[in-house]
């Protein structure tokens, strides 16, 4: 406890110094006034011992405290490079066409836009290795990209990095029916894997709204959580092995397919969640659970947040092993979805409730599981925990319930500008933040709260017709400080990317970030700076 307080003191003083300096720099959007920048650079160099960010950038909707500059030690592309890549990959896999580049330079939220001039589509690990070896020798910065569905600007270039897109590597290599171990290339789209496994009688241990576009390599690199984490656990538990290409072109084969292997340090865990900063994941070996026949889903309404929490406790106890998802939405989120999306209707039209909970159970015995769920729902209703609810009678109703929950991000996008925060907080405190933000923002914007209540993960979104710095000021850094105060995580599952590149100190102590292991990783990854140099994870590696 003492240690934490000490480091947080240090952090706070550092932060206030930085904020004072950087707020003056933000006036000079195009960084013309080198002198003022220089002084802040000096300050930052002095902070290097704490593993501080080494560059500043300006982007459209940034807050005063995040400015990143292109590192001048990286080269720029020339025609020799293009010819080399064309010779290596063939004409079709080297894209310089402006329209296509426009798409891959922009993230899903249309919030971050890079200016890359080159998109490469390797089809094998060997090609990826050769690309990275070459870029390393030429000191060309690179950004790995999969489905480009990330929400923190980590999947698009910050400046003119070469985009290495893994989408062409989409083969399923093998599947063992007895153990359920799937080995596939990193560019496989999650939904395709789910369909493939469906035919075999298995399912993927993770499921998210972006499954139609996101790729497994990206999921692994960001340690994606998703809707079923409460049942199947995180990717750290389900990924049995992976193959990655390091920044210098070396291929690290950790593609084990063993459930248990205690021979030495388990390096793959460093890659899971490293957001591509240690290397590009090219193959994944994942343990898939069997598909169970009985899936039931209930859509419930609660009057207040404490009932939601009690319901969670009861669900874990009474539904136990069959609980497979526990999600919540508040009334704002529900209204937004009903308003913005087509073909969605309110399962509980009688009145608008304060909170909606979606519970899914998965088990092997239909009648037994249904009875269990009905008994649980009955007792919760009698106990006053839920005020109303619906049990899906068939697969159409079930998918319509999921459509509501999975459609919230899409509805937010359609409603205009959205400031997205993904926080892990102690369950009892979670909704207090939403209430606080509502008071803070007042009429400026709408605050929407939803998320994986079962995992203590809140997706806090602030929706406004347009982006406005006045709104941003009220949100940041208040949200981060609030989270930090409760020892929460400022990024539960979305990762750091560009958006939260230098926010890591809100959730990790300075010592953790500058732990000597990080230096060792740098040595292993050699010129680690070449891969995603301006994104959050790399900036921690000095």
């Amino acid at each position: 406890m003492e240690k934490w307080r000490a480091t947080s003191n240090l952090r706070r003083s550092l932060k206030s110094i930085l904020n004072r300096q950087l707020s003056s720099v933000s006036e000079f959007r195009y960084l013309n006034e080198k002198r003022s920048c220089q002084s802040s650079f000096n300050l930052i160099r002095d902070c290097k011992s704490l593993g501080q960010v080494n560059a500043i950038q300006h982007r459209c909707f940034s807050s005063a405290s995040t400015l990143v500059q292109r590192n001048p030690s990286f080269s720029t592309l020339n025609s020799d490079d293009i010819s080399y890549f064309k010779g290596l990959l063939g004409e079709k896999s080297v894209i310089q066409d402006e329209d296509r580049l426009e798409t891959v330079n922009t993230d899903w939220m249309h919030k971050y836009k890079g200016s890359s001039k080159l998109l490469l589509l390797p089809r094998s690990t060997e090609e990826v290795a050769q690309i990275l070896r070459y870029c390393n020798s030429r000191c060309l910065a690179v950004v790995p990209q999969g489905g480009n569905t990330g929400l923190v600007g980590g999947s698009v270039p910050v400046f003119d990095e070469v985009i290495v897109n893994i989408s062409s590597m989409n083969n399923i290599i093998s599947f063992d029916k007895v153990s359920g171990i799937l080995v596939c290339e990193a560019g496989c789209i999650l939904e395709n894997l789910i369909s493939f496994l469906d035919n075999q009688g298995f399912i993927m241990p993770l499921d998210l709204g972006a499954k139609g576009s996101c790729q497994i390599g990206g999921n692994v690199s960001t340690n994606a959580g998703g809707l079923r984490l409460v049942r199947y656990g995180s990717l750290h538990g389900n990924v049995l092995g992976l193959e990655a290409v390091l920044a210098n072109g070396d291929v690290l084969d950790m593609l084990g397919t063993l459930r248990k292997d205690n021979t030495g340090y388990d390096l793959k865990h460093l890659f899971i969640g490293s957001e591509g900063s240690l290397g590009i994941v090219t193959k994944v070996s994942i343990l898939t659970p069997p598909k169970l026949s009985s899936v039931n889903i209930a859509f419930l309404a609660c009057n207040d947040y404490s009932s939601c929490q009690k319901l969670l406790m009861e669900a874990k106890r009474k539904l136990g092993e069959i609980l497979s998802a526990f999600e919540f939405l508040d009334t704002e989120a529900m209204n937004l979805v009903l308003h913005q999306l087509d073909g969605v209707r309110n399962p509980l039209p009688a009145s608008m409730h304060n909170f909606y909970i979606l519970i899914e159970t998965t088990g092997s015995d239909e009648s037994y599981n249904r009875e269990k769920l009905e008994a649980f729902l009955l007792s919760s209703m009698e106990g006053g925990l839920i005020s109303d609810g619906v049990l899906a009678q068939d697969i159409n109703q079930a998918s319509s319930f999921w459509r509501i929950r999975e459609g919230v991000p899409e509805a937010l996008m359609k409603a205009g500008a959205v400031y997205k925060y993904d926080l892990s907080l102690p369950v009892e405190k979670m909704y207090d933040l939403v209430d606080d933000m509502r008071i803070r923002l007042g009429d400026l914007a709408k605050v929407v709260g939803y998320g994986h209540l079962g995992d203590g993960n809140l997706h806090l979104n602030v929706s406004a017709p347009e982006y406005d710095d006045k709104i941003l000021e009220q949100i940041e850094p208040y949200v981060y400080e609030w989270t930090s105060k409760h020892r929460g995580s400022i990024s539960a599952e979305h990762g750091l990317g560009l958006m939260k590149a230098n926010k890591i100190y809100y959730s990790k102590s300075a010592e953790t970030v500058s732990f000597p292991l990080n230096k060792k990783m740098q040595r292993i990854s050699l010129f680690a700076g070449c891969v995603s140099p301006s994104h959050g994870c790399t900036s921690c590696l000095n």
């Binding site: 209930a298 859509f299 419930l300 209707r345 399962p347 509980l348 009905e374 729902l377 009955l378 209703m381 839920i386 109303d388 609810g389 619906v390 049990l391 899906a392 009678q393 068939d394 697969i395 159409n396 109703q397």
Partner: protein
């Protein structure tokens, strides 16, 4: 086991009619093995007042179903019979029409809109036909079969699911109703439609013309 989607729409329409005060009671009927009762419970949870389960082995053909329904109509004396236009397991689209003929009742099939007039004892039905919409006026009692666009079935809410547990379900067997379940039809063969062949990407207009002329023989 889940309810045939068109029958769900029929049940929803029946419930709407009852809620508007034009009917006293909604009775849901199912025919089949014992696990069909689950479907009946769903119907009761949606709001039906009573259920009737006619226990019979699987593989009922529409004519048998129509005959059983005729007997039940004689017992229950409903003012209106609403069914889904077809079942999604056999896609026959015959039961509604057959029972109307057996009973000598007027029929309004593929209904996309139903308006009842209690005083005049008529039902005005908009039917979805190939050429568009046809409006019929039927004297009650009548048979109506429902199409997709008639309504959107409600969800079964928890309080109603709980109430449904105590609603009565009466069991019959075909023998009790003096109906012989036999099939005059024999399934001879079931084949999948031919798999769609992959398209061919051509590189020039000349090649296209050549293929259309020599391979497809369309020009």
């Amino acid at each position: 086991m889940s309810m045939n989607p068109f029958c769900e729409i029929a049940l929803e329409e029946a419930l709407k009619i009852k809620e508007s005060g034009l009917a006293k009671e909604v009775v849901a009927v199912t025919m089949g093995p014992s696990n069909c009762v689950d479907t009946l419970r769903t119907g009761l949870a949606m709001g039906a007042d009573r259920g009737i389960h006619v226990e019979a082995a699987r593989d009922l053909v529409p004519l048998s179903v129509a005959k059983v329904l005729k007997k039940l109509v004689e017992v229950e004396n409903p003012g209106l019979l609403i069914l889904g236009k077809q079942a999604i397991d056999d896609d026959c689209n015959q039961t509604g029409q057959m029972i109307a003929a057996l009973l000598g009742w007027p029929q309004g099939t593929f209904a996309s809109k139903v308006v009842l007039d209690k005083e005049k004892q008529v039902a005005t039905v908009d039917r979805e036909v190939d050429g568009g919409l046809e409006t019929l006026c039927l004297d009650l009692p009548a048979v109506i079969t429902t199409d997709l666009r008639l309504n959107q079935p409600r969800y079964a809410t928890l309080p109603n699911i709980m109430k449904a547990k105590s609603k009565p379900i009466k069991r019959y067997t075909p023998e009790e109703l003096n109906v012989e379940i036999k099939s005059d039809l024999e399934v001879v063969q079931v084949t999948e439609p031919p798999k769609r062949k992959a398209g061919v990407i051509l590189s020039s207009v000349d090649e296209l013309i050549d293929k259309l002329k020599n391979e497809a023989h369309v020009i």
